[in-house]
């Protein structure tokens, strides 16, 4: 059954400054939506606010997954309702192993190591790296792929991927893009990818592209929008109402 993620008029402040200023986006499971926009336009703020980062203050608006208001839920409950964030800068958690994290997140221990290893293979990550403490001594690109392993094991209904492509080499980028594309058919996952680069979209065909500027969506279009952005930059889309 198709699920709907509906972000309406979301307003979020960081350090007292309103960064998201009425953000709207609606998507269905199985779709791939891409958010592009200049630095400081609010893309990462959106990702952090959706995942309930303690440093981000929601001022108003709504994020509904079907009938459930996610903003009223704890970060844990949001994931358990099916919204997962793959972070731009995944944190080190010394002394804690990923297998224990996933088990504590409710994944059956039986066969878990095998599932992790199989997901690791799909994104060209050496599975033994996952035996280290979470993200400790992993390079930037390895951390991104470790996020993808978690994505594959948790199988969320919607996944936000905050610059999953940064720090990845071309080959890894291809396998990550393919893994995301496959998830849309494997379990009808809704993919919301935040990126600066069109390269991710070579193997991950977007349903829609949204251009963000000044904390809101200023343009929405099909895959052709990425080409326009690459040619003309963000300037034509710049939101001037901010000042």
């Amino acid at each position: 059954m198709s699920a709907v993620l509906r972000i309406s008029n979301l307003r979020v402040a960081v350090g007292g400054k309103e960064v998201l200023r009425g953000f709207d986006l609606t998507m269905r499971s199985g779709e791939v939506h891409v958010i592009m926009g200049p630095n400081g336009s609010g893309k990462s703020t959106l990702a952090h606010a959706l995942a309930g980062h303690p440093g981000y203050q929601v001022l108003g608006g709504s994020v509904r997954l079907d009938d459930v208001e996610l903003l009223e839920l704890s970060p844990t409950e949001r994931v358990r309702h099916g919204l997962f964030l793959a972070m731009q800068q995944p944190m080190e958690v010394p002394g804690v192993r990923l297998v224990d994290v996933l088990a504590a997140a409710g994944v059956a221990r039986d066969g878990l190591n095998e599932r992790m290893a199989s997901e690791a293979r799909r994104v060209d990550l050496r599975a033994e790296l996952l035996e280290r403490f979470v993200n400790v001594d992993l390079s930037g690109g390895e951390r991104k792929r470790a996020e993808m392993v978690q994505f594959g094991v948790l199988r969320p209904r919607f996944a936000i991927l905050d610059e999953i492509d940064s720090g990845l080499d071309v080959d890894a980028l291809g396998s990550v893009a393919r893994r995301l594309a496959e998830s849309t058919t494997e379990w009808d996952c809704g993919v919301l990818a935040i990126t600066h680069f069109r390269r991710l979209l070579h193997e991950l065909t977007p349903t829609m592209i949204h251009v963000v500027s000044g904390g809101r969506v200023v343009a929405t279009g099909g895959p052709e929008l990425a080409e326009t952005l690459e040619r003309d930059g963000y300037e034509p889309f710049r939101d001037t109402s901010a000042s």
């Binding site: 010394p94 994290v101 948790l154």
Partner: protein, 412 residues
């Protein structure tokens, strides 16, 4: 036997080296038990401590090994079992490793033990009352691949285990010391480590005594030229858990990495003391003391870095992090530096506070409930200490740590 002293006399007179023991005993009697007026004993619940509740055993109490100890013993072919301070079983098929017994007053690093322990009441008691010294020696140049496991069980009301580990030039070994039992008992271990030139010792001490035990431990390491000691101390049990760990970096290039951790629950007191004594040039010490206090427990960490004149290019670092898990818990941190040489790098940092909020959020954002995230992070303090161990041993200890943590109400 009407008193602790009577039982001590029985033990002392039954041993061939009674005279030396009597000397230690009389030094103990002259000094008497410490008092909380003494700064280094300020945090100990000494008002509840009465030696006459305990009796010195003249033989080990016969009791089967607990399941965890049995599993641990199964992981190596070099296992020493010590019951109530008495060496009961040892088996080593490992070439280049010998296990012997020596008198409790055995000299160490060329030092007179009476001088070393003159002002340490409990170490004097151990010198008088340890049934003997278990000496584990690794021959020069031998790389021991299997861990050497020393299992201490306490079933008598008092035990005074004494251990020496000696690594010859260029040798390398991993030693695991495990303590269990100790219900209503006093357990006073003295351990001495001698790491020879260019030798490398990894030592993990896992103290898992009953919550009613008094545990007063002292470990002293002497590091020769370019020697390396990587030591982890995990304090889990005991009503009063005192662990003093000294390292004497007496020759150039010696390196000491010491990590200590504990979890306090109930009304436990964890009292960790460290002294890094730099005498040789280009010596390094890194110390990380981490712990959590829950319920009504408390902890104190007192660390001294001492750098002798002439110990040029010494690098000494000390970090202490304490985690408060309850408004009734308390943690103190007392770092001290005593530096008599200018050409050194020396740093210390300490903090008392809650868990890292962003790390916790990261785990929550994977779908982990907050209390599980906190439990995993606290468990992580311990797991970080185990990474020096072979993975089979590390996994076993990890599972045991996890089971203990689950029983502490606030973090279960």
């Amino acid at each position: 036997m009407n008193s602790f002293a009577d039982s001590a006399t029985s033990l002392i007179t039954s041993r061939p080296d009674a005279e030396t023991r009597r000397r230690a005993w009389s030094m103990f009697e002259a000094a008497g038990l410490p008092s909380t007026l003494d700064e280094v004993w300020r945090y100990a619940p000494l008002s509840d401590f009465d030696l006459d509740r305990y009796r010195v055993p003249t033989a080990p109490v016969d009791a089967p090994l607990a399941p965890f100890a049995t599993s641990l013993a199964g992981l190596s072919s070099c296992v020493v079992r010590v019951a109530d301070g008495y060496r009961v079983v040892d088996g080593t098929d490992v070439k280049g490793v010998t296990i012997d017994e020596a008198p409790s007053s055995l000299a160490f690093g060329g030092d007179d033990p009476f001088e070393r322990y003159a002002s340490d009441t409990f170490a004097l008691l151990n010198t008088a009352l340890a049934p003997g010294t278990t000496v584990v020696s690794v021959e020069p140049g031998v790389i021991v691949h299997e861990p050497i496991i020393i299992i201490h069980s306490a079933h008598a009301t008092a035990s005074f285990p004494r251990t020496q580990v000696r690594l010859g030039t260029g040798s390398s070994a991993t030693v695991i010391e495990y303590y269990d039992g100790g219900d209503g008992a006093v357990v006073v271990p003295v351990s001495e480590l001698e790491v020879g030139p260019n030798a490398s010792l990894r030592l993990v001490t896992y103290q898992r005594l009953a919550a009613t035990a008094w545990h007063v431990a002292r470990t002293t390491a002497i590091l020769d030229r370019d020697a390396r000691l990587n030591q982890s101390v995990l304090g889990m049990g005991a009503n009063y858990n005192r662990s003093r760990n000294d390292a004497d970096l007496r020759a150039s290039g010696a390196q000491n990495e010491l990590r200590t951790t504990f979890l306090g629950s109930g009304v436990q007191v964890h009292d960790f003391r460290t002294r890094q004594y730099h005498r040789g040039a280009r010596t390094r010490s890194t110390l990380l003391a981490k712990g959590a206090v829950a319920e009504s427990s408390r902890s104190v960490y007192t660390g001294l870095i001492e750098i002798e004149k002439g110990a040029k290019k010494t690098d000494a670092r000390q970090t202490n992090h304490n985690l408060l898990l309850s408004p009734f818990a308390h943690a103190d941190s007392v770092p001290n530096l005593d530096i008599r040489e200018n050409d050194v790098v020396c740093a210390h940092a300490s903090s008392v506070g809650p868990l890292d909020e962003l790390q916790r959020w990261y785990l929550e954002s994977r779908g982990v409930e907050r209390h599980d995230a906190e439990r995993l992070m606290i468990q992580g303090f311990f797991l970080e200490m185990l990474d020096a161990l072979p993975s089979s041993v590390a996994r076993l200890v990890e599972d045991d740590v996890a089971s203990v943590l689950r029983s502490v109400a606030v973090i279960a």
